[in-house]
Symmetry: C2
Subunit: 125 residues, 2 copies
């Protein structure tokens, strides 16, 4: 999987990494059981420090997207805690939607955008 880091971005490197891997899982470019590169290997490929990659992997483990195996490294393994995920989603949308509402974006326009984005992810329904 191709990972691109923007060194001029304000977003922390380990978060850019985390986000791209999550999007990789969502688009099914990464599937359950797939191994991610080792922390050292990926660090060298991207040109960043080992610990920065390790931090991204640790966050992904914490958030239930991978399991880390001593032998196989980080393996995609999504923990489906839907209730928790829904609560988090609600919290994250709270401010984002407040912003869009202020800016005159209608409910329907948000729905269209949701459909557009969700169509690129491997949702079941």
């Amino acid at each position: 999987m191709l990972i691109e880091i923007d060194f001029n971005s304000e977003e922390a490197l380990y978060l850019q990494l985390r986000n791209q891997i999550i999007m990789g899982i969502a688009t099914m470019e990464l599937r359950e059981g797939d191994s991610l590169p080792s922390v050292r290997q990926l660090a060298e490929t991207i040109g960043i420090n080992m610990h920065t990659v390790n931090k991204a992997y640790t966050v992904l483990k914490q958030e239930g997207f991978v399991k880390v195996d001593r032998r196989r490294g980080a393996v995609i393994a999504v923990n489906l805690d839907k209730m928790k995920a829904l609560e988090e989603l609600k919290q994250e949308l709270l401010v984002v939607l407040a912003k869009s509402s202020c800016k005159g974006i209608s409910r329907q326009e948000v729905h269209v955008l949701i459909d557009e984005l969700y169509s690129e992810y491997g949702s079941i329904d």
Copy 2:
């Protein structure tokens, strides 16, 4: 408007402040033309530094939610750059929805959540 700051939150104080004011505008608790407290006054009320409030106001100005007047202080004045807002919304939803998709939250469930949240905001449609 009541503002509550969580000093144990990981979120920066100035961002908590910014977010609550945006939500105040969305819920129409704050309306076009309303003045916000002066930076010093609000800082004292909340119990934080003047510059932290000033930073929140500066960000809100930058993002087009208030205009800052030398005499009246920060005044609610939403700049309706819808195209820009839509682009930002899309960018913000990209990762948020990837996460929810991974966690097995369906498109419909997101729609329900959107409606639930939007109903609390003063959207026109």
